[in-house]
Symmetry: C2
Subunit: 403 residues, 2 copies
């Protein structure tokens, strides 16, 4: 049997404890782990029996037995580690939302375009959840008709603040913490996966209701948002196939996200209604109803031994999607003799770094919208732009192209 690529993991958060057993179950070997401090790396290495640990990025990247890296650390390090890894010739799976701003994601896009023979995907695991792959198929088969009226998403989730190490990036909006980056990014990506359309204009209200926790009090405040409500107009097709035909009005999306340890159990619901019926995913199940017909269950999520149930830090649909994505990665490598060789088909539906940049662009527009109480256009920064650090230039250039 073929030897699968060796894996290096960046990060010591709770998702690492979940993903390492998944990787092993699928036949991957986890050979090295990086942590922010030697102590944190050592502790997780010991806990998960990973043979090598370090707090130096290069010591993982330069290892000959590491072929694929999982970037699961603080978002401000995503771009730096991913770009370097690709340069050294390693495949990369990067956690959402691919950096802390669009500029980060753009650097990653450039690197991935420079090394097209390497895998570079963003961890948007919901794309691999069977209920959503099935929903996408039903939409393409016009289950809800040719005219789609509305996509509505509601998610309630427990607090996203990781207090195991005290105040960290999950408390801080500028470091990539909060419900918009950690959950909203999944939703924004999923909507374009399902519809084949991209948001062109957005409006949002983003809030931090709980600015104190048991451990974060006094001078330090939580700035990471725990609430977001937003509306997107989906209009720009991303590929040959999309759900808008002819001169239809943009597709309206409404989203409401809330994280709180007091808000009750995890709940996630996505409903798409159209002229001929409706489709909805609740948890991991897909339901549908055509007009004047009875509700039907189109996919029922079954509990199986292979799929552990969700826990507080990663609800079940995300967990299951992640496991499926790891399975797809295995398939991509499995069919080629060379340990590092791969085929595209099994991971063809995964989120690319370009998708990651798009998600960042939407989140930037949403933050601006919330600040200015205005609808904002989604501005996708171009590769050719010279000075990405100058927002005025970027904006002006984008407006020249899309007047």
């Amino acid at each position: 049997m073929k030897m699968l690529p060796g894996i290096g993991v960046f990060g010591t958060g709770s998702v690492v404890r979940i993903i390492v057993p998944f990787l092993r179950a699928k036949g991957f070997v986890v050979v090295a782990i990086w942590g922010r401090t030697p102590a944190s790396a050592q502790q997780v290495a010991k806990e998960l029996s990973i043979p090598f640990y370090t707090s130096k990025v290069d010591e993982v990247l330069l290892r000959k037995d590491v072929d694929l890296i999982f970037v699961l650390c603080s978002p401000h390090l995503h771009a730096q580690i991913s770009v370097k890894a690709l340069g050294i010739g390693k495949h990369v799976l990067c956690d959402r939302p691919a950096g802390i701003c669009q500029n980060d994601a753009l650097k990653m896009v450039k690197a991935s375009q420079y090394y097209p023979s390497l895998i570079s995907i963003v961890n948007h695991s919901l794309r691999f959840l069977p209920a959503f792959t099935m929903m996408r198929k039903c939409l393409r088969d016009n289950y809800v008709g040719k005219r789609i009226d509305l996509c509505d998403v509601r998610i309630r989730i427990s607090s996203l603040i990781d207090e195991t190490e005290g105040y960290d990036w999950t408390c801080d909006e500028r470091m990539g913490g909060g419900i918009l980056t950690l959950v909203g990014s999944h939703v924004i990506d999923l909507l374009s996966f399902l519809t084949g359309l991209r948001a062109t204009r957005v409006h949002g209200v983003i809030r931090t209701f709980e600015s104190e926790t048991a451990r974060v009090q006094g001078i330090r405040r939580v700035t990471a948002p725990d609430f977001a409500t937003f509306q997107l107009e989906l209009g720009g097709p991303i590929n040959d196939y999309n759900l808008l035909t002819g001169d239809r009005a943009p597709l309206l999306v409404t989203v409401q996200l809330m994280s709180s340890n007091q808000a009750g159990a995890f709940n996630q619901e996505l409903v798409i209604t159209g002229e001929a019926g409706a489709l909805w995913v609740k948890g991991g199940d897909l339901h549908g109803r055509r007009n004047n017909a009875k509700e039907e269950c189109l996919y029922l999520d079954v509990e199986d031994l292979e799929n552990p149930t969700g826990n507080e830090s990663l609800p079940r649909p995300y967990m299951k999607g992640l496991l499926k994505m790891v399975g797809a990665l295995r398939e991509a490598f499995q069919s080629v003799e060379d340990r590092r060789g791969w085929v595209k088909e099994p991971v063809a539906d995964a989120a690319t770094f370009q998708d990651g940049q798009y998600v960042q662009a939407v989140m930037e527009a949403l933050r601006k919208s919330s600040r200015h109480m205005s609808w904002e256009r989604v501005i996708l920064a171009d590769e050719e732009e010279q000075d990405l650090n100058n927002p005025l230039l970027t904006r002006a250039a984008a407006m020249l192209r899309h007047p």
Copy 2:
């Protein structure tokens, strides 16, 4: 036993068929009915055994045995009939949303202020639903804490188009049809009833997804909206007591309303979350949970013989609220000897014509917001304004007062 005031009813829609038996059950005598055409008036009069019918407004208003009128007809007639009725000395209950624009409502406000000895209330029956009166009490008792984070309202209802007489005002936005005026008005009013606060800025997206029905096709289109999503900032206190203290940020409200015969069963949920817990009304039941405690049922809506179950044209919570409101009206009259005499206390919580004008102002701001894709200030037109038909003057005057 005291003789209750005689009632004249304006309108022949389905709500009339529901309300007349309620009125009789509470001891009122329905003496006359007005319809747009003699035929429609005759038909309902016969069906409901009402002794007198007419298509002339004055023939109801001038009757000596009519003391209280129920204005349940097309909104474009609300102001005209209500103002005239008060001038003739009749008590008035007017259906929501009190006319088709703020100017209509303002005329009604002026008339009601000119005749303070007459009852003048808007049919916002949810104020009388026990679950909401209890919720209001819990909020005042700080059940969710001093800091309220969010009010979220979701309503799904069957189509609001009345096709019994073909194309009518319920199909037409400018005539007062659609989910914003017929359901949104209730929500806007209820929120200020519950919190003691008024919306100062609003943002909304209003749509008509189903512009054709089985009977309305071809050249005629339904323009009445069947979908609205909106955000309100509640900031302006309406009386001594309100839920914002000190220099707190405005209270955020999110609302989503959808009407469709395909959207599934009626569903209405209002959730208020705060620092110390949450309260929610689902259907007619009130639930609550304080932080770190178990969910508790604070009011359970019991099916009783007196309260019929809801039907498609009037869901149960609205039906029950309406019955309670009719009961309150009876009490108001019951305790005074004179047939037309009344006391305020039982109907002190009813929506006044001023409340109706506020609701119209919020809806006007929401329509403007949806048209312009912008947040809009709620501008309450003043009594002193001379030229209310000139929107520019009205706006300019309002901006001078609230710069």
